[in-house]
């Protein structure tokens, strides 16, 4: 098997190949994570086709990729693990953005040590282990101490020729600031196993907007993880608009005093697809504050499962954990499963939780229609309004417009 791996991951060092082998062995006796009552049979995690593909940078993007990009300003395009295009202004001069392949080529010690370290840690979760074992695309973003990046960094991550096993590492050092708008896309029917880790150091501020736009024939496992230290702030906004089956796991660890996170998510499930979303905020420090807001729409025969988990560990006094999930169903055949969990092992805390599932409010519809709006127009306005607290967070107007358009298309009755 080792030889096989060496053929497959031909650019890797021998020690990485050994680590990969170890992970694959580990994976064999690991089981899939338990996520609600999600039927994993739809996901086909066993049939993989993973390849290592190198591609050169281009000065102009191919039309098939351009058509999926809304805003070319300050963008980095990563395709099958290669940075094929980047267009960044001087605001990003101090920010290190490097793919795994680039790190190998330039023998960048710092980046390589970060990339390698990941292979060494063993997870309990089969899907995470799989992501490491077959990783064929990885990216490092590092914002040095005290660097405040005013412009939003757009990341466009694409899988085409191979199943995508991607990992992004984002380090924001002390008192730095960064906004990222990340979009995940595919050009061919592939499997996607996507992971990211954001490290928010002391006093750092990160806004992370993830837009998932995978096609109907791409099954996805997406795991985004945030780690927030003292006085750090992480605002996570997720636009989960995949057309295919998706498991989306979002974990935020509040590790320092006054660590703050907001997780605001738009979820859209349609056709006969299964979407399982977990948003888990772990309060691992006193005086930490976390808020979860989920707004979801389910259409057709869609199945949406949303688990919000606010966990305050023992001794983490004065922590504040709140969450609210609201789902609108647009069809009698849609299935929704919303669980707002609060797990509290400490007395001196603030907490609140709630979840609601329902149809579009008939009184609101009647009110709008009484001014001449057709039912579909009124429904569209109300739903976009319902999603607006999250849509408003997208800092690029063009991406915002395209996001709205995607939702409008999905809503077309």
């Amino acid at each position: 098997m080792r030889d096989q791996l060496m053929v497959h991951f031909k650019y890797d060092d021998h020690n990485i190949i050994d680590l990969r082998k170890k992970l694959i062995d580990e994976m064999k006796h690991q089981s899939l994570p338990k996520i609600g009552k999600i039927p994993f049979k739809y996901f086909n995690f066993d049939k993989l086709k993973v390849q290592y593909i190198k591609e050169d940078k281009v000065t102009e993007l191919h039309q098939k990729i351009l058509s999926k990009i809304d805003d070319l300003e300050n963008i980095v395009v990563l395709k099958d693990g290669n940075i094929i295009y980047s267009n960044l202004d001087e605001t990003f001069n101090k920010v290190k953005i490097m793919s795994y392949f680039e790190a190998l080529e330039n023998n960048d010690k710092e980046a390589l040590s970060i990339f390698t370290k990941r292979f060494e840690q063993i997870d309990k979760d089969k899907l995470k282990t799989m992501n490491k074992a077959y990783q064929n695309s990885a990216l490092l973003i590092k914002v040095p101490k005290n660097v405040v990046v005013k412009e939003a960094l757009k990341l466009h991550i694409i899988g085409e020729k191979s199943d995508l096993f991607h990992h992004t590492t984002i380090y924001c050092e002390t008192s730095s600031e960064l906004t990222i708008v990340e979009k995940i896309d595919n050009l061919q029917p592939i499997q996607v196993n996507y992971m990211s880790d954001v490290y928010v150091s002391e006093n750092a501020k990160v806004n992370y907007i993830g837009i998932d736009r995978l096609s109907e024939d791409a099954n996805a496992y997406i795991n985004r993880c945030g780690h927030v230290h003292d006085n750090g702030s992480l605002i996570y906004a997720l636009g989960q608009l995949n057309d295919g089956n998706t498991i989306s796991n979002n974990v935020i660890e509040l590790l320092g005093k006054n660590a703050y996170c907001e997780s605001r998510n738009v979820l859209f499930t349609d056709k006969d697809k299964v979407h399982a979303i977990t948003v888990h905020v772990k309060h691992l420090s006193p005086y930490s504050k976390g808020t979860i807001t989920n707004h979801g729409i389910v259409k057709d025969k869609g199945y949406l499962s949303v688990d919000g988990i606010g966990k305050i560990h023992q001794g983490m006094n004065h922590s504040n954990s709140s969450q609210q999930t609201n789902i609108v169903t647009l069809s009698p055949d849609a299935t929704v499963n919303a669980n707002p969990y609060l797990l509290i092992d400490e007395y001196d805390v603030f907490a609140g939780h709630g979840a609601g599932v329902g149809k579009v409010d008939e009184d609101q519809l009647y009110y709008l229609m009484s001014r001449g709006l057709k039912r579909t127009e009124a429904e569209k306005l109300i739903i976009l309004g319902f999603l607006s607290p999250i849509i408003e967070m997208i800092s690029s107007d063009r991406i915002k417009e395209s996001f709205i358009k995607t939702i409008e298309n999905k809503l077309s009755f």
């Binding site: 609601g356 609101q364 009484s370 001014r371 001449g372 709006l373 057709k374 127009e377 109300i382 309004g385």
Partner: protein
């Protein structure tokens, strides 16, 4: 030709209870009608039934807008034909801005796209006329509005949409004296041969600014008395008892006053208080 709204022998049911028991009323362009009456006599039911609220079922009778029966039309179609209802309790719609909403409504009505610049000009003018906050276009529809603001917003929508017939359901409740004047004058400014108005009210105060041509009194789900301004003055001084006496009505209500029920709301824990134990 003057527009005409005719209500003929209208019987309306809500939750299997007959509320309107044969209302007859004709409003022509240029006319302002007022309906008065004690609580629970069917005034709001009449306005909702004319507009086409799906909870109100017409079991008999006709509503003719320029000779066309609108009873089988859904509410949005009636609105596009020129009917407008300023609601007693307008809904709050968070996330939808006033300007998006009004512009969409205007475009639905005319079927034409309205240039943004012209729209903003007109909207700002109307906002000024009603002395509302200048950030109104960007605020969410009625979201967090005070009672008075909501009422003004109804009139604002009316000014923008220019309906043929407007029904104003207790537009004066919750307005202070100054607001009453502003709203009253705004309504009066629409007076023309191509606009008719039905005003439902408890108080004659707003009538200082809008002089009605006809006054009707509703009791027991029907119009029991019609007249002019003199009727208002008498009601203002003597109340409704003389009408009840004259017509031999003991209880003017359509349905008896129900015991006050407080439903337990979602989001409220099942406490003794909320369950009324």
């Amino acid at each position: 030709m003057k527009p005409v709204l005719e209500i003929k022998n209208l019987h309306v049911e809500v939750d299997d209870k007959e509320i309107l028991k044969g209302v007859n009323l004709t409003i022509k362009g240029g006319e302002i009608h007022v309906i008065m009456g004690p609580n629970g006599t069917g005034k709001s039911t009449l306005s909702s039934a004319i507009m086409g609220n799906p909870k109100y079922h017409v079991i008999e009778g006709k509503i003719l807008l320029n000779d066309e029966n609108v009873i089988d039309m859904p509410v949005d179609e009636r609105a596009r034909k020129g009917l407008f209802l300023a609601m007693q309790y307008p809904s709050e719609v968070p996330g939808v801005t006033n300007s998006d909403f009004i512009r969409t409504a205007m475009q639905s009505k005319t079927g034409k796209s309205i240039p943004l610049y012209k729209f903003i000009m007109d909207f700002d003018k109307a906002i000024e006329k009603l002395q509302m906050r200048s950030d109104l276009p960007h605020r969410y529809l009625n979201d967090g509005f005070s009672g008075g603001e909501k009422k003004r917003n109804e009139i604002l929508q009316m000014l923008m949409l220019k309906p043929t017939f407007a029904i104003l359901d207790e537009i004066d409740s919750g307005l202070d004296v100054d607001a009453l004047k502003i709203v009253g004058e705004a309504i009066d400014s629409l007076r023309s041969e191509t606009f008719g108005c039905l005003l439902i009210t408890h108080y004659q105060r707003i009538l200082d600014y809008i002089k009605p041509d006809y006054v009707h009194v509703m009791m027991k789900g029907a119009i029991v008395k019609s007249g002019g301004m003199e009727l208002i003055e008498k009601i203002d001084q003597e109340g409704y008892d003389w009408i009840k006496e004259e017509l031999g009505i003991e209880n003017e209500r359509v349905v008896p006053e129900e015991a006050h029920k407080r439903p337990a709301m979602i989001g409220e824990c099942a406490t003794k208080k909320s369950l009324d134990l």
